[in-house]
Symmetry: C2
Subunit: 365 residues, 2 copies
């Protein structure tokens, strides 16, 4: 079967031929439909994040997948079920408390592998195998956008942790700012603007005023989406983050999805009293000057919080399935700008100004 | 009556003569027993924090008080009740949502005054008045240490907010580090080491291993207390915060009570995965260099959080009354090193190496 991998010593992703996997006992065989590409894939390709599986000279990419059960293999899945796989798996040494309690997203480095990212092959292949406990069912008619469940789940978790941090008092947030206008930023912006009131989703609040900060100049397709969502686009070339409170307002909630380290610190001053910043970017080491006294003082005197969050678990994927169902069709259609195939995969890995979300389509339902 | 105040243009606190206050309707008259001195008082004296009441040329100091009801004045208090007053009061414009919902500690600047700190006279006077809703009863036999309820309540709130921030997953903290070995640090260290399992207290967890970082060299009375508590003293001259993880271990919980701004940032790297740092210090503006990329990365990849927290409300005071009851007598006795009187108040405001906690005693029960 065809798979898209990063090989040791070669630049960029390549299509490799691998044997179709045989499911072990307790695993199902999945036929891949679509796999999304995100910033983490680019980091894996560039070598700044992730790592090869033990003893391998390549890693199959892809962690945002939607697939169909090809062989239930004795599990309680049904052939034809459309599913989305989670990303973390136990390390080679076996399971641990984090996996046992269903919270692999809270496992520290070394206590997990991540499919398509670190230590384990991903989903960019015609077939893959998985135990059923790492698969979440989605409605059949959402197969084309099912790969968005994984990124949505990332925000479900971030929202859950951010809200938890404000649960010791009556928090009534009204304004929210998303830092970053790539696909995760835009999806999150929509979640904050529309609210999502399912029982399982953690993004149940709809903010009265939403903003999205980016570096793009109009006309730009991401800015068009921000306008259409009804949010305010903040062009950071004109209005850098530190001037957002005076130009617009201070924010009850900030969601950082840029990986630009100064944003983690500027977030504190962009927040309203009692506000929280959720940090999701993964920058490299970088020394710079901050007014550490002012940041510290602001955190304390105004009861502010910063919450770092990574990955997500099954509960967040389940919330994300509901969220996906409530996001408007026009948004999902406008987000997916590139559908590549294994025969011509390059367009999925280009960073064009017109590209928002790219997927590789291995098969259709 | 005698009061201890900071006057415009004069250095240091002075004893002033003021008329005994007359309670308004709905207020009780309180006879002051003891009032503690803390770092905030020194900041008010130094002029770096707080402010005079509107139209006044002085502010009466003191926000850590214990008093006895002298005149219930029609409130449902009983004369002779021993009480501790909370600190925040509505501003001149009147009450607001934060006070209405019992969360004045979450009010932003301008929406409150603080007795003895900003905009309102404090409790360092022979008598003061207060509505009963800002008074918390304590057992009569705790009158000598009742002024510690206010600082304990600060930690009750910090613990509540820190735990809330970790409530979205199963958090099982074992190690805790207190930054700062003044009285608040030592009280907090004892709360973390002994745990306090009352229904109302938020400091219900006893940590398996506790540490306290300070700058003092042995022999020192605060280090003696740390030893006696059973915690590990970390001398920051030998082991600065950034080397604590390699020298001892990384910490599930860090409580910052130094006001030393670099500690807010070094806390992130001192934390274990999924750990939380509660920040309580109030530094001035100060620019310095940080490895912002590494701090940001650590927050995200290890799901860490920083929670700033200030002040406390009635619920925290009630928890603190229970906590006070569970702290060992030797600790309370060793903490209170200085008992000054209004006739010779200077010793209460000195920062001697032998001084841990100073109080001004206006009267005895």
């Amino acid at each position: 079967m065809k798979a898209i991998a990063v090989q040791r010593g070669s630049e960029g992703p390549t299509v490799v031929e691998k044997p179709r996997p045989t499911p072990n006992e307790g695993e199902a065989l999945l036929r891949t439909l679509r796999v999304g590409v995100d910033g983490t894939d680019h980091e894996v390709i560039g070598g700044s994040h992730g790592g090869f599986p033990e003893g391998e000279d390549h890693v199959v990419l892809g962690h945002e997948a939607v697939a169909v059960v090809a062989d239930a293999n004795g599990t309680d899945l049904d052939e034809g079920d459309v599913v989305v796989p989670t990303v973390r798996r136990p390390p080679a040494e076996g399971t641990n408390d984090y996996f046992e309690r269903g919270e692999p997203d809270m496992a520290p480095e070394g206590e997990y592998v991540e499919r398509g990212i670190v230590g384990e092959h991903g989903y960019m292949a015609e077939f893959f195998t998985s135990p059923p406990e790492y698969l979440v069912s989605i409605p059949e008619d959402r197969w084309e956008v099912g790969f968005l469940v994984e990124p949505i789940s990332i925000t479900e978790k971030a929202m859950e942790h951010a809200y938890a941090s404000r649960s010791a008092f009556e928090w009534t947030p009204e304004s929210a700012l998303v830092l970053g206008n790539r696909s995760l930023g835009l999806i999150t912006l929509a979640m904050l603007e529309y609210g999502v009131d399912s029982d399982r989703s953690f993004a149940a609040h709809d903010f009265e005023r939403t903003y999205c900060l980016g570096r793009r100049e109009r006309p730009d397709p991401t800015v068009d989406i921000i306008d259409e969502i009804g949010a305010t686009y903040v062009n950071s070339n004109e209005t850098p983050l530190e001037t957002v409170p005076e130009t617009y307002e201070s924010m009850d909630f900030v969601y950082e999805a840029t990986g630009y380290a100064p944003h983690a610190f500027e977030t504190v001053e962009a927040l309203s009293p009692n506000g929280v910043g959720a940090l999701l970017g993964i920058p490299d080491s970088w020394e710079f000057e901050v007014d550490g006294g002012r940041i510290h003082n602001e955190l304390v005197l105004h009861n502010k919080a910063l919450v770092g969050t990574v990955n997500s678990h099954v509960k967040h994927f389940e919330g994300a399935v509901d969220t996906l169902d409530e996001l408007p069709d026009w948004l999902l259609a406008d987000l997916v700008t590139t559908v590549a195939t294994p025969d011509d995969v390059a367009p999925a890995f280009e960073y064009g100004d017109d590209q928002i979300k790219a997927v590789v389509e291995f098969d259709r339902l």
